[in-house]
């Protein structure tokens, strides 16, 4: 981290508008990428992004480790996006023990296939992600892309870990099918 970046962060803490603009310019594309992974609609993702940066400027005073600012903003973005999706009326996480889950897909025998999206174009992966139902998209993003732990995911979404595992395997399966269609 260069001294200039440190200076910018310090100035942001003093509510300096120019420094805030520089910080935004530097990290907005990255944060927007995170938002778009969760919320595929461009407009809605921009709403989330706005919320993210309000939170960033609010919480900047509590940031100890300047080196971690990128990861910190990423985390804020993913959390804001998840909260946005959870607030939608039609997004509902169902626990695996519920009778709704007793369809053919609920078998836990699906092996955890190593599934790497790097062989595909980012845009096509994003497009496929956008086609997934919200809950699968959220679980896939949190576990596979943002490397969160199962317990964190379970806590955030209010489900238990085995349910999260099941959601992930379904999400992967659906994503693979979508991507193979595009190939």
């Amino acid at each position: 981290m260069t001294p200039e970046e440190k200076y910018i962060i310090d100035a942001c803490r003093r509510n300096d508008p120019k420094a805030q603009k520089r910080l935004y310019d530097k990290y907005a594309p990255m944060a927007f990428g995170v938002c778009l992974r969760y919320v595929p609609s461009f407009d809605e993702a921009q709403d989330v992004l706005q919320e993210v940066f309000i939170k960033v400027f609010d919480g900047l005073g509590g940031l100890r480790n300047y080196e971690a600012i990128k990861a910190w903003i990423c985390r804020i973005a993913s959390r804001a996006a998840v909260n946005y999706l959870l607030a939608l009326p039609h997004v509902e996480f169902v626990d695996i023990s519920s009778p709704i889950f007793q369809d053919g897909l609920a078998d836990m025998s699906i092996p955890e296939v190593p599934f790497d999206t790097d062989i595909f174009e980012s845009d096509s992966v994003l497009h496929a992600l956008a086609c997934l139902p919200e809950k699968y998209r959220v679980v896939f993003n949190m576990l596979e892309v943002d490397d969160m732990s199962y317990s964190d995911v379970a806590d955030t979404l209010g489900i238990n870990e085995s349910t999260a595992r099941c959601y992930l395997s379904r999400a992967k399966k659906m994503l693979q099918e979508k991507l193979q269609e595009t190939l």
């Binding site: 509510n15 508008p17 805030q20 603009k21 935004y24 907005a28 594309p29 990255m30 927007f32 990428g33 995170v34 778009l36 992974r37 609609s41 461009f42 407009d43 993702a45 921009q46 709403d47 992004l49 706005q50 940066f53 309000i54 400027f57 190593p114 790497d116 999206t117 790097d118 595909f120 980012s122 992966v125 994003l126 596979e144 892309v145 943002d146």
Partner: protein, 279 residues
């Protein structure tokens, strides 16, 4: 693994920064106003405290004197009126007919008296004068009357207290008939439309009349987008929105519509809701 996705970046539109800047600026302004207001009140309180300090010792005496007189001032005229209004049992009608001319606060006090009047008359038949006389001192009333009567009086007095502040806030009943939204079946409003569709019914967004012979007048439909900007307005029910604003196709999203119209009976209606534009 998944590194492409992890490092995926996308440039947001410049409007987002404007919004953020706007919010930040407003927030700092609000904070400044808050601190200024708090400082001002503190200073004012301090000044007032210093100014009123010598008088503060005399203040409580005056206050208790006022408190003891306050209930008298409210109760006395009402109960004293009771003999004057004995036969007017349908007082409510009178109250309603007068309500256009006389201030509301008066009726708030006088209308519960109807409830008091019969009970008081029944109870106080042996010694009506004594009750009225004693009623001027609210503390003495329960002692002079049997226990049931005293509770009834206190209950009706409590009604007075309850009704008095509530009545002025009620709106005038004359307007209540002009808007009736619940039983509205004249218009059917779709919740989705698709400008690119082959189906002619889906191409534009407009409400449909449920029956052919229905008519609406003073029709006005306004449509807003997610940021509250008005994107469409129409005064003709057959002219609907095709999903464009100033020639630009609007993005797929939910839009808010507000439809005002008047039906054949002359009742005004308003319908609000969201419609989803599908590309």
């Amino acid at each position: 693994m998944n590194n492409n996705l992890k490092n995926y970046t996308q440039q947001p539109s410049p409007e987002v920064w404007n919004k953020i800047q706007h919010t930040l600026r407003r927030r700092t302004l609000r904070r400044q106003i808050c601190t200024a207001a708090i400082g001002f009140t503190l200073v004012a309180a301090a000044v007032a405290g210093v100014m009123l300090w010598p008088k503060a010792e005399q203040q409580p005496v005056q206050l208790t004197a006022k408190q003891s007189t306050m209930p008298k001032a409210v109760v006395v005229p009402e109960i004293a009126e009771i003999p004057a209004l004995p036969t007017e049992t349908p007082m409510r009608k009178n109250v309603d007919s007068q309500s256009e001319t006389v201030p509301v606060a008066l009726h708030a006090e006088s209308s519960p008296v109807t409830a008091v009047a019969p009970t008081l008359e029944k109870i106080a038949q042996p010694e009506p004068i004594a009750v009225v006389a004693q009623a001027t001192q609210p503390v003495a009333v329960p002692a002079a009357l049997p226990p049931v009567a005293s509770t009834m009086i206190t209950a009706s007095l409590a009604e007075v207290a309850d009704n008095a502040p509530a009545t002025p806030s009620k709106p005038a009943p004359a307007k209540a008939t002009s808007s009736n939204v619940s039983e509205d079946t004249i218009l059917w409003i779709p919740n989705i439309f698709m400008p690119a569709s082959d189906d002619a019914d889906l191409v534009v967004f407009r409400p449909r009349l449920n029956k052919k012979d229905e008519t609406v007048s003073k029709y006005k439909m306004t449509i807003f987008n997610r940021s509250g900007q008005m994107v469409f307005v129409s005064n003709d029910i057959s002219y609907g929105w095709d999903g464009t604003y100033r020639g630009v196709e609007q993005p797929q999203a939910a839009y808010v519509y507000v439809i005002n119209y008047m039906d054949a009976k002359g009742l005004r209606h308003q319908r609000k809701g969201t419609v989803t534009l599908v590309r």
